[in-house]
Amino acid sequence: MANAFRPAFVLVVLLTLLTGLVAPLAMTGLAGLAFPFEAGGSLIEDHGRIIGSALIGQNFTGAGYFHPRPSATTEPDPKDASKTVPVPYAADNSNASNLAPTAKALIDRVKGDLASAGPAPVPADAVTTSASGLDPDISPENARRQIARVASARHWPEDRVAAIVAAHTEAPFLGFLGETRVNVLALNHALDRMQAP
């Protein structure tokens, strides 16, 4: 036991320094040099201002924007720190609903969202919360159903909006790797840039 103490202690210290300090710091430096955009969080700037991350969803409520999936993220209640209040797409506190498929709370929430979701069948991603609460994407079907609203709010012809949606629809690689999806922030950013040339 006593003669095992030195190697145990020395190895704990050395392995911590190597794998917990030297290697991660070296990788941080290397990643920043090789892939500065990705290593920094894929942040999108517009006129020198960070408008979000290409990978992280953000909340949109205006009629002229495409809306993301519902989000279950929360923030501490400003009035009572022991409680939380819903804050969709809080990117500093990723969270899911964790509601069971048989949870009454889930059924009631979906019922509420369906009321404003248009005719059935509604695409599932339009009324379900994601695992991170930060899902950046919606399905093409979900986007298609929002085209009329967005076009009318912007006083644009629907074809024009539909063309932008089509340009921002990402198909699976080789037809089977991944899902067909539309990045909501990229889509809405494209809409804004078209309006203000």
Binding site: L14, G20, E38, A90, P121, T128, E179
Partner: protein, 569 residues
Amino acid sequence: MTISGWAEICLVLALIVLAAWPVGLYIARIADGERSFLHPVLGPIERGFYALAGVDPARGMAWRGYAVALILLNTLHFLMLYAMLRLQFYLPLNPDHLAGMSPRLAFNTAMSFVTNTNWQAYGGETTLSPGSQMWGLTSHMFVSAATGIAAALAISRAFAAGGMKTLGNFWADMTRIVLYLLLPIAVVGAIVLVALGVPQTLATHADATTLEGMKQTISLGPVAFMEVIKELGTNGGGYFNANSAHPFENPNAWSTMFEAWLVFLIPIALTFTFGRIVKDARQGYALLAVIGIFVIAAIAIAYAAEAGGNPLLTALGVDPAQGNMEGKELRFGIPLSVLFNVITTASSCGAVNAMLDSYMPLGGMTSMFLIQLGEIVPGGVGSGLYGLLVFALIAVFVAGLMVGRTPEYLGKKIQAKEVKLAMLAVLILPLAILGFAALSLVVPAATASLGNAGPHGLSEMLYAFTSATGNNGSAFAGLTADTPWLDTTIGIAMLLGRFAFLIPVLAIAGSLAEKVKVPASSGTFPTHGPLFVGLLCGVIVIMGGLQFMPALSLGPLAEHFTLLAGKTF
């Protein structure tokens, strides 16, 4: 279920086996201290470690010495992490001045990372500084993974020859596994993940102004390097609360396939390593076949359960075509969510890219059942292999009982002592899982933590202790885990699941190593053919799985049938 979904799944599984074969043989070589292509660079570091530690890597250890070394190193490591988490406020690289953890949460978290469980009672981005994530959690992911692999090597060696007094040198095993196996793959893997979009920065957050003019604080950190060892070492503790579902941990389909590949790489590779160490490759193939049967069956069940969508929502007018999307990310869809979650629960990784609490009852039960089998198909890095070997011993013992012969495995006679120790190890699992879960379901302080009602509430609690004892770390995360009762009992369950299992197994190895190797005769039961594969599958289901059926009937199975009847809670 779709053909393209199955194509994705089969592609990943094929790439895993393809890579695991050379990696497995490579592990056998570095375990032997042979030179590899990395020695010109890392050899001096290895020798430096031995010199500072005062270790002679060639000196073998008997099983007791090996066990003492393993436990001592892990005890010191536990104490160090506990201190780091408590003292976080005073340590560097904490730009947001986050406070230290409470004693009970620090105990739970330190235990979680030392046992390779990575249960997250804390919320990553809200409670831990980049410094704590790096030298606290990330370094523990390396060391706990190496500990498991070292133990598996020691046990494999016991079958290699007859009349051995020692199982190898623990210090040398640890050093070599970290230097020549884990670190190089982690370095390359981190670059791949960054290229795919995973951040690696010392900044803790970025402040964005959204298109609608709202403030959005985006948490960042040195994620990529932690992410890669989290998968590679079957650890599972995420940088963020949402774990591998967070877009920064897992930005797209490519990253989720790469991460799933990393999780299975070493556990599958070790079946080839085992074949090489015992000098009979077919023995490793037989174990791989058993693993393959369970994994593919589990994927099929979970995929079928999730792809059909939630009938309760379909009845309201939701299109079931996308499947059950509550708690899932669109970029993964059902196939990659199911594949990832089966892979991370069949191994003891416990990373999640979709929330198991919101899985359909049978989908969630698949993950729970895989852990309850004992985390052996293929289980965690190292721990899975030695767990599977324990079941292999029980399988040959059962076969021996049927024909009235002394059972043998790989030429070693399996006698009363080994079978008793094997049963001792195997019984720890139901004791800790069912014992703690039953207790927690009657203690009001524990049931207050439940996030869902009805049978699903029972599933949440059962899953928590299943995950802790199996050293998995995934959760039905609606459970509020950071309470005095759960922090403590889950911490103890993790400890039992890791070390109360490991010590009897090392004792078996010590006992078997000394025995002479009996040459195979016409009466020897071959342990590489389909008969043995079938027998081992049966023993795993009956010994490992069946004892949990009553509990599963009250939880996920009951929920499944009430759901079909349209009942909600």
